[in-house]
Symmetry: C2
Subunit: 160 residues, 2 copies
Protein backbone atom coordinates (compact mmCIF):
# COMPACT_ATOMS: atom_id res chain seq x y z
CA UNK A 1 0.00 0.00 0.00
CA UNK A 2 1.18 3.50 -0.82
CA UNK A 3 2.17 5.60 2.16
CA UNK A 4 -0.64 8.05 2.85
CA UNK A 5 1.72 11.03 2.82
CA UNK A 6 3.22 10.63 -0.67
CA UNK A 7 0.74 12.84 -2.53
CA UNK A 8 1.71 16.37 -3.44
CA UNK A 9 -0.74 19.26 -3.07
CA UNK A 10 -0.67 21.70 -6.00
CA UNK A 11 -1.74 25.27 -5.19
CA UNK A 12 -2.04 27.61 -8.18
CA UNK A 13 -3.09 31.25 -8.43
CA UNK A 14 -5.04 31.70 -11.66
CA UNK A 15 -3.42 34.33 -13.94
CA UNK A 16 -6.67 35.76 -15.36
CA UNK A 17 -9.27 35.63 -12.55
CA UNK A 18 -8.90 36.12 -8.75
CA UNK A 19 -9.07 32.43 -7.96
CA UNK A 20 -6.86 29.86 -6.20
CA UNK A 21 -6.95 26.26 -7.41
CA UNK A 22 -5.85 23.36 -5.20
CA UNK A 23 -5.41 19.84 -6.62
CA UNK A 24 -4.73 16.78 -4.48
CA UNK A 25 -5.10 13.02 -4.92
CA UNK A 26 -6.23 10.62 -2.20
CA UNK A 27 -5.91 6.84 -1.87
CA UNK A 28 -9.60 6.40 -1.16
CA UNK A 29 -12.79 6.20 -3.23
CA UNK A 30 -14.73 9.42 -3.98
CA UNK A 31 -17.62 8.40 -1.69
CA UNK A 32 -15.24 8.21 1.29
CA UNK A 33 -13.49 11.52 0.51
CA UNK A 34 -16.92 13.11 0.08
CA UNK A 35 -18.14 11.81 3.46
CA UNK A 36 -15.00 13.23 5.14
CA UNK A 37 -16.14 16.66 3.87
CA UNK A 38 -19.83 16.40 4.79
CA UNK A 39 -19.95 14.58 8.14
CA UNK A 40 -19.01 17.15 10.83
CA UNK A 41 -17.66 14.41 13.13
CA UNK A 42 -15.12 13.57 10.41
CA UNK A 43 -14.47 17.16 9.27
CA UNK A 44 -13.31 18.19 12.75
CA UNK A 45 -10.67 15.45 12.63
CA UNK A 46 -8.74 16.81 9.63
CA UNK A 47 -9.74 20.34 8.54
CA UNK A 48 -6.94 22.87 9.04
CA UNK A 49 -3.39 22.71 10.36
CA UNK A 50 -2.24 20.42 13.18
CA UNK A 51 -2.43 21.86 16.67
CA UNK A 52 -5.71 23.71 16.28
CA UNK A 53 -8.80 22.33 17.94
CA UNK A 54 -11.90 22.59 15.76
CA UNK A 55 -15.39 22.85 17.24
CA UNK A 56 -18.54 22.95 15.12
CA UNK A 57 -21.39 25.31 15.98
CA UNK A 58 -23.46 23.86 13.13
CA UNK A 59 -22.49 22.03 9.94
CA UNK A 60 -25.48 21.19 7.79
CA UNK A 61 -23.78 20.06 4.58
CA UNK A 62 -26.68 19.81 2.11
CA UNK A 63 -27.94 22.03 -0.73
CA UNK A 64 -29.29 25.12 1.06
CA UNK A 65 -27.60 24.32 4.38
CA UNK A 66 -24.98 26.34 6.24
CA UNK A 67 -22.08 26.00 8.66
CA UNK A 68 -20.18 27.83 11.38
CA UNK A 69 -17.14 26.55 13.25
CA UNK A 70 -14.21 27.74 15.32
CA UNK A 71 -10.56 26.73 15.28
CA UNK A 72 -8.79 27.42 18.57
CA UNK A 73 -5.16 27.46 19.70
CA UNK A 74 -3.67 28.82 22.93
CA UNK A 75 -6.90 30.57 23.83
CA UNK A 76 -7.14 32.32 20.43
CA UNK A 77 -10.34 31.58 18.49
CA UNK A 78 -10.78 31.84 14.70
CA UNK A 79 -14.41 31.67 13.57
CA UNK A 80 -15.58 30.76 10.05
CA UNK A 81 -19.00 30.57 8.48
CA UNK A 82 -20.70 30.04 5.13
CA UNK A 83 -23.57 28.47 3.26
CA UNK A 84 -23.82 25.40 1.03
CA UNK A 85 -25.07 26.43 -2.42
CA UNK A 86 -25.11 22.87 -3.76
CA UNK A 87 -24.09 19.43 -2.52
CA UNK A 88 -24.02 16.62 -5.13
CA UNK A 89 -23.13 13.33 -3.44
CA UNK A 90 -19.57 12.10 -4.20
CA UNK A 91 -19.21 14.67 -6.96
CA UNK A 92 -19.40 18.37 -6.12
CA UNK A 93 -19.82 20.84 -3.25
CA UNK A 94 -20.29 24.60 -3.83
CA UNK A 95 -20.14 26.74 -0.73
CA UNK A 96 -19.35 30.23 0.52
CA UNK A 97 -16.61 30.95 3.05
CA UNK A 98 -15.83 33.85 5.39
CA UNK A 99 -13.15 34.14 8.06
CA UNK A 100 -14.92 36.33 10.60
CA UNK A 101 -11.72 38.30 11.24
CA UNK A 102 -12.46 39.85 7.82
CA UNK A 103 -16.27 39.78 7.94
CA UNK A 104 -16.80 41.52 4.58
CA UNK A 105 -14.56 39.15 2.60
CA UNK A 106 -16.40 36.24 1.02
CA UNK A 107 -15.01 33.41 -1.12
CA UNK A 108 -17.04 31.17 -3.41
CA UNK A 109 -15.57 27.67 -3.15
CA UNK A 110 -16.13 24.69 -5.44
CA UNK A 111 -14.94 21.16 -4.57
CA UNK A 112 -14.90 18.60 -7.37
CA UNK A 113 -14.27 14.89 -6.85
CA UNK A 114 -13.02 12.74 -9.73
CA UNK A 115 -12.95 8.96 -9.49
CA UNK A 116 -9.51 7.86 -10.81
CA UNK A 117 -10.24 4.13 -10.47
CA UNK A 118 -8.32 1.69 -8.20
CA UNK A 119 -9.88 3.37 -5.16
CA UNK A 120 -8.18 6.69 -5.87
CA UNK A 121 -9.77 10.14 -6.10
CA UNK A 122 -8.65 13.54 -7.36
CA UNK A 123 -9.98 16.51 -5.39
CA UNK A 124 -9.93 19.95 -7.06
CA UNK A 125 -11.03 22.94 -5.02
CA UNK A 126 -11.26 26.51 -6.28
CA UNK A 127 -11.69 29.66 -4.19
CA UNK A 128 -12.96 32.72 -6.06
CA UNK A 129 -12.90 36.23 -4.57
CA UNK A 130 -13.65 39.66 -6.02
CA UNK A 131 -10.10 41.09 -6.18
CA UNK A 132 -6.57 39.94 -6.97
CA UNK A 133 -5.32 41.77 -3.86
CA UNK A 134 -7.72 39.75 -1.68
CA UNK A 135 -6.74 36.51 -3.40
CA UNK A 136 -3.01 37.17 -3.05
CA UNK A 137 -3.35 38.20 0.62
CA UNK A 138 -5.14 34.90 1.27
CA UNK A 139 -2.41 32.88 -0.46
CA UNK A 140 0.44 34.48 1.52
CA UNK A 141 -1.48 34.35 4.84
CA UNK A 142 -0.23 30.84 5.63
CA UNK A 143 -3.06 29.14 3.78
CA UNK A 144 -0.57 26.67 2.27
CA UNK A 145 0.46 25.23 5.66
CA UNK A 146 -3.17 24.74 6.66
CA UNK A 147 -4.04 23.07 3.38
CA UNK A 148 -1.00 20.75 3.32
CA UNK A 149 -1.30 19.69 6.96
CA UNK A 150 -5.07 19.34 6.65
CA UNK A 151 -4.75 16.98 3.67
CA UNK A 152 -2.06 14.94 5.47
CA UNK A 153 -4.48 14.57 8.36
CA UNK A 154 -7.20 13.60 5.86
CA UNK A 155 -4.85 10.92 4.42
CA UNK A 156 -4.48 9.52 7.93
CA UNK A 157 -8.23 9.57 8.54
CA UNK A 158 -8.94 7.85 5.21
CA UNK A 159 -6.28 5.19 5.88
CA UNK A 160 -7.65 4.49 9.37
CA UNK B 1 -42.82 63.99 -5.72
CA UNK B 2 -40.32 62.61 -8.22
CA UNK B 3 -41.80 60.22 -10.75
CA UNK B 4 -40.81 56.68 -9.72
CA UNK B 5 -39.37 55.90 -13.16
CA UNK B 6 -36.78 58.71 -13.45
CA UNK B 7 -33.83 56.81 -12.02
CA UNK B 8 -31.27 55.35 -14.38
CA UNK B 9 -29.82 51.88 -13.82
CA UNK B 10 -26.06 51.69 -14.43
CA UNK B 11 -24.76 48.25 -15.46
CA UNK B 12 -20.96 47.95 -15.71
CA UNK B 13 -18.72 45.02 -16.58
CA UNK B 14 -15.58 45.27 -14.44
CA UNK B 15 -12.42 45.45 -16.59
CA UNK B 16 -10.15 43.44 -14.25
CA UNK B 17 -12.34 40.76 -12.62
CA UNK B 18 -15.30 38.74 -14.02
CA UNK B 19 -17.92 40.80 -12.23
CA UNK B 20 -20.98 42.88 -13.20
CA UNK B 21 -21.87 45.91 -11.10
CA UNK B 22 -25.39 47.38 -11.08
CA UNK B 23 -26.08 50.74 -9.40
CA UNK B 24 -29.60 52.14 -8.93
CA UNK B 25 -31.19 54.74 -6.67
CA UNK B 26 -34.65 54.44 -5.12
CA UNK B 27 -36.97 57.05 -3.61
CA UNK B 28 -37.46 55.03 -0.44
CA UNK B 29 -35.53 54.49 2.79
CA UNK B 30 -33.02 51.63 3.00
CA UNK B 31 -35.21 49.67 5.41
CA UNK B 32 -38.04 49.59 2.86
CA UNK B 33 -35.78 48.63 -0.07
CA UNK B 34 -34.26 45.93 2.12
CA UNK B 35 -37.68 44.50 3.03
CA UNK B 36 -38.63 44.37 -0.66
CA UNK B 37 -35.61 42.03 -1.12
CA UNK B 38 -36.20 39.79 1.91
CA UNK B 39 -39.99 39.31 2.16
CA UNK B 40 -40.96 36.73 -0.49
CA UNK B 41 -44.47 38.19 -0.78
CA UNK B 42 -42.86 41.46 -1.90
CA UNK B 43 -40.04 39.91 -3.97
CA UNK B 44 -42.53 38.09 -6.22
CA UNK B 45 -44.16 41.45 -7.05
CA UNK B 46 -41.08 43.03 -8.68
CA UNK B 47 -38.17 40.60 -9.36
CA UNK B 48 -37.50 40.11 -13.06
CA UNK B 49 -39.03 41.45 -16.26
CA UNK B 50 -42.73 42.25 -16.71
CA UNK B 51 -44.90 39.44 -18.06
CA UNK B 52 -43.27 36.61 -16.11
CA UNK B 53 -45.11 35.08 -13.19
CA UNK B 54 -42.86 34.34 -10.22
CA UNK B 55 -43.64 31.57 -7.74
CA UNK B 56 -41.52 30.87 -4.68
CA UNK B 57 -40.72 27.30 -3.64
CA UNK B 58 -38.91 28.60 -0.55
CA UNK B 59 -37.29 31.96 0.23
CA UNK B 60 -35.66 32.00 3.64
CA UNK B 61 -33.71 35.27 3.49
CA UNK B 62 -31.50 35.12 6.60
CA UNK B 63 -27.82 34.33 7.18
CA UNK B 64 -27.55 30.60 6.39
CA UNK B 65 -30.92 30.41 4.64
CA UNK B 66 -31.66 29.50 1.02
CA UNK B 67 -34.14 30.07 -1.78
CA UNK B 68 -35.63 28.50 -4.89
CA UNK B 69 -38.16 30.08 -7.21
CA UNK B 70 -39.53 29.79 -10.73
CA UNK B 71 -40.38 32.45 -13.30
CA UNK B 72 -42.94 31.29 -15.86
CA UNK B 73 -44.20 32.64 -19.17
CA UNK B 74 -46.34 30.90 -21.82
CA UNK B 75 -45.85 27.52 -20.18
CA UNK B 76 -42.03 27.88 -20.07
CA UNK B 77 -40.51 27.65 -16.58
CA UNK B 78 -37.14 29.10 -15.50
CA UNK B 79 -35.93 27.85 -12.10
CA UNK B 80 -33.35 29.60 -9.91
CA UNK B 81 -31.80 28.67 -6.58
CA UNK B 82 -29.14 29.78 -4.15
CA UNK B 83 -28.14 30.25 -0.53
CA UNK B 84 -27.87 33.32 1.67
CA UNK B 85 -24.32 33.66 2.98
CA UNK B 86 -25.08 36.75 5.06
CA UNK B 87 -28.05 39.04 5.62
CA UNK B 88 -27.35 42.30 7.53
CA UNK B 89 -30.61 44.20 8.02
CA UNK B 90 -30.97 47.31 5.81
CA UNK B 91 -27.30 47.11 4.85
CA UNK B 92 -26.04 44.05 2.97
CA UNK B 93 -27.08 40.72 1.49
CA UNK B 94 -24.55 38.17 0.17
CA UNK B 95 -26.03 35.24 -1.70
CA UNK B 96 -25.28 32.65 -4.36
CA UNK B 97 -27.29 32.36 -7.58
CA UNK B 98 -27.77 29.63 -10.18
CA UNK B 99 -30.12 29.55 -13.17
CA UNK B 100 -30.92 25.85 -13.33
CA UNK B 101 -30.70 25.89 -17.14
CA UNK B 102 -26.93 26.11 -16.52
CA UNK B 103 -26.71 24.07 -13.31
CA UNK B 104 -22.91 24.25 -12.98
CA UNK B 105 -22.71 28.06 -13.26
CA UNK B 106 -22.77 29.85 -9.91
CA UNK B 107 -22.62 33.59 -9.21
CA UNK B 108 -21.68 35.18 -5.90
CA UNK B 109 -23.92 38.24 -5.47
CA UNK B 110 -23.52 41.12 -3.03
CA UNK B 111 -26.24 43.74 -2.47
CA UNK B 112 -25.24 46.91 -0.63
CA UNK B 113 -27.73 49.54 0.56
CA UNK B 114 -26.55 53.10 1.18
CA UNK B 115 -28.78 55.63 2.94
CA UNK B 116 -28.57 58.86 0.88
CA UNK B 117 -30.79 60.88 3.26
CA UNK B 118 -34.18 62.43 2.37
CA UNK B 119 -35.68 58.95 2.16
CA UNK B 120 -33.47 57.93 -0.74
CA UNK B 121 -31.30 54.83 -1.06
CA UNK B 122 -28.53 53.70 -3.40
CA UNK B 123 -28.48 49.98 -4.17
CA UNK B 124 -25.26 48.48 -5.55
CA UNK B 125 -25.28 44.82 -6.55
CA UNK B 126 -22.30 42.89 -7.83
CA UNK B 127 -22.33 39.45 -9.49
CA UNK B 128 -19.03 37.59 -9.51
CA UNK B 129 -18.40 34.48 -11.62
CA UNK B 130 -15.29 32.44 -12.39
CA UNK B 131 -14.72 33.42 -16.03
CA UNK B 132 -15.00 36.48 -18.25
CA UNK B 133 -16.75 34.36 -20.89
CA UNK B 134 -19.44 33.39 -18.37
CA UNK B 135 -19.82 36.99 -17.20
CA UNK B 136 -20.10 38.35 -20.77
CA UNK B 137 -22.60 35.64 -21.79
CA UNK B 138 -24.74 36.63 -18.79
CA UNK B 139 -24.61 40.33 -19.70
CA UNK B 140 -25.69 39.77 -23.34
CA UNK B 141 -28.38 37.20 -22.39
CA UNK B 142 -31.01 39.90 -21.90
CA UNK B 143 -30.11 40.46 -18.26
CA UNK B 144 -30.38 44.25 -18.81
CA UNK B 145 -34.10 44.11 -19.71
CA UNK B 146 -34.88 42.02 -16.65
CA UNK B 147 -32.91 44.31 -14.35
CA UNK B 148 -34.38 47.55 -15.74
CA UNK B 149 -37.96 46.33 -15.78
CA UNK B 150 -37.56 44.71 -12.37
CA UNK B 151 -36.34 47.96 -10.80
CA UNK B 152 -39.18 49.92 -12.46
CA UNK B 153 -41.60 47.46 -10.88
CA UNK B 154 -39.75 47.90 -7.56
CA UNK B 155 -40.19 51.71 -7.90
CA UNK B 156 -43.92 51.15 -8.30
CA UNK B 157 -44.06 48.81 -5.30
CA UNK B 158 -42.11 51.26 -3.10
CA UNK B 159 -44.35 54.17 -4.18
CA UNK B 160 -47.54 52.21 -3.49
Amino acid sequence: MTSPSTHHTTITSDPTVPLVRIVREFDAPAEKVFRAHTDPELVTRWLGPRGLEMRVEHYDCRTGGSYRYVQAENGEEYWFHGSFHEVRPSERIVQTFTFEGYPDAVALETLLLEDLGDGRTRLTTTSLVDSFEGRDAFVVSGMEVGVNEGYERLDELLAG
